[in-house]
């Protein structure tokens, strides 16, 4: 710890900062390489869509891959660039544990969206006293 560095009195133990920038550049390369892989997967999805028989499962697999790679990128940005990895464990937990709500949040709402699609495509969502929209009009309709 350098002597000319005064810190705010509420901090009990002066933090140790890395001398060099090696870790920063290493993280930059990791983020860049992950982004390039993501772009390659994005173009692969594009080519699958352009192709003769798009394989829905393969597209889903690739989309799952980019989601995982994005989470990896988020980890590196938060842990290294934002220095959260250097904080005290209890503090890390006060940030990370509330974010676990997203697990429920994503599952519940995407499930809800999917349920709406099923109602849209079947009779399950129609009420008997409401006039049914003709299929031809529906295909053109601006609402869909």
């Amino acid at each position: 710890m350098s002597q000319h560095h005064t810190i705010s009195p509420e901090i009990s133990f002066p933090p140790q900062h890395a001398e060099g920038t090696k870790k920063i550049w290493k993280t930059f390369w990791i983020l860049s390489i992950i982004t390039i892989i993501e772009l390659a997967i994005g173009l692969a999805i594009y080519n699958i869509h352009e192709g003769e028989n798009p394989n829905a499962n393969l597209v889903l697999f690739f989309k799952g891959m980019v989601c995982i790679l994005t989470l990896a990128k988020a980890y590196y940005i938060v842990a290294i660039f934002m220095h959260l990895g250097d904080e005290i464990r209890n503090f890390i937990m006060t940030i990370v544990v509330p974010l676990l709500l997203f697990i429920w949040f994503i599952i519940a709402f995407l499930w809800d969206g999917d349920s709406w699609k099923n109602l849209r495509n079947t009779d399950a969502g129609s009420r008997p006293n409401i006039e049914k929209v003709a299929p031809a009009a529906k295909q053109k309709g601006a609402k869909d």
């Binding site: 350098s2 901090i11 920063i24 860049s32 940030i95 709500l101 997203f102 709402f109 809800d112 709406w116």
Partner: protein, 245 residues
């Protein structure tokens, strides 16, 4: 964490000292960013819900395939990857500014803050171009049996399902939620970038005036840096949700 060598049995919560060995301002910046993460998360999840609920959604590789000065060349993902790399790079210059701040090197902080501000402005310029291109671009759409030329706005989406019309495939109006979500979420993110640039400019001026040297530490640069990295973090997810999947 482990390298700070904290004595065993330290009473973190006894008062007078930070329980987390970090200043109040920094801890509160983290909690603000966590709440902001929920705001963006709610936006993106709501977008996902609507997208799951409709039968057709525009293909991002088809909608975002233009590049400045490239005319009508089909370049899917090219421009948005440029924007992504600009933001990653400005994140690196920001963390380098924080690093120079730890070493109390004012000249270094000034240099990297300038680079970060330029990166932010470059990103905003790219976003302005992309919005303009999307709003003013005209795509043939079949509306009530007539071909019209539409741009993408919050009330119009020319990228609907394609139908056969006079022997060729023409798209029909798509879900208008596409424009609303795209402009809403990238706009909210762009506003964060804009305010981040303003904060960084203020930090640069304060560095130039020697305020942090007088204070004895460059913690304000760290707090501005947290905000700036968060903006980059959000873009990682916007990039995923709007352009990749």
């Amino acid at each position: 964490m482990a390298s700070t060598a904290i004595p065993a049995g330290t009473k973190w919560w006894s008062g007078g000292k930070s329980p987390f060995n970090a200043s109040y301002g920094k801890i509160m910046m983290w909690y603000f960013l966590m709440s902001d993460a929920f705001t963006f998360g709610a936006f993106l999840i709501s977008y996902g819900t609507i997208r799951f609920s409709v039968n057709h959604w525009p293909d991002p590789n088809y909608v975002f395939n233009a590049f400045p000065f490239a005319g009508h060349a089909n370049l899917p993902l090219a421009f948005v990857s440029l924007m992504t790399f600009i933001l990653i790079f400005s994140s690196v210059t920001m963390v380098l500014a924080v690093h120079e701040g730890h070493k109390m090197n004012r000249k270094g902080v000034e240099k990297y803050m300038i680079l970060t501000i330029l990166g932010g402005l470059a990103f905003l310029g790219c976003q302005a171009w992309e919005w303009t291109h999307l709003i003013t671009g005209d795509h043939a759409v079949l509306v009530n049996g007539q071909i019209e030329k539409w741009g993408t706005t919050v009330t119009r989406n020319p990228f609907g399902p394609e139908v056969l019309h006079n022997g060729q495939m023409v798209s029909t109006p798509g879900p208008i939620a596409f424009g609303g979500y795209f402009f809403g979420i990238t706009g909210f993110h762009g506003f964060h970038v804009f305010s981040g640039v303003v904060i960084n400019i203020i930090m640069y001026i304060k560095t130039r005036l020697g305020h942090f040297d007088q204070r004895g530490h460059y913690e304000m640069i760290e707090k501005a840096g947290l905000y700036w990295h968060f903006v980059d973090l959000v873009w990682v997810f916007v990039f995923l949700c709007f352009y990749l999947i």
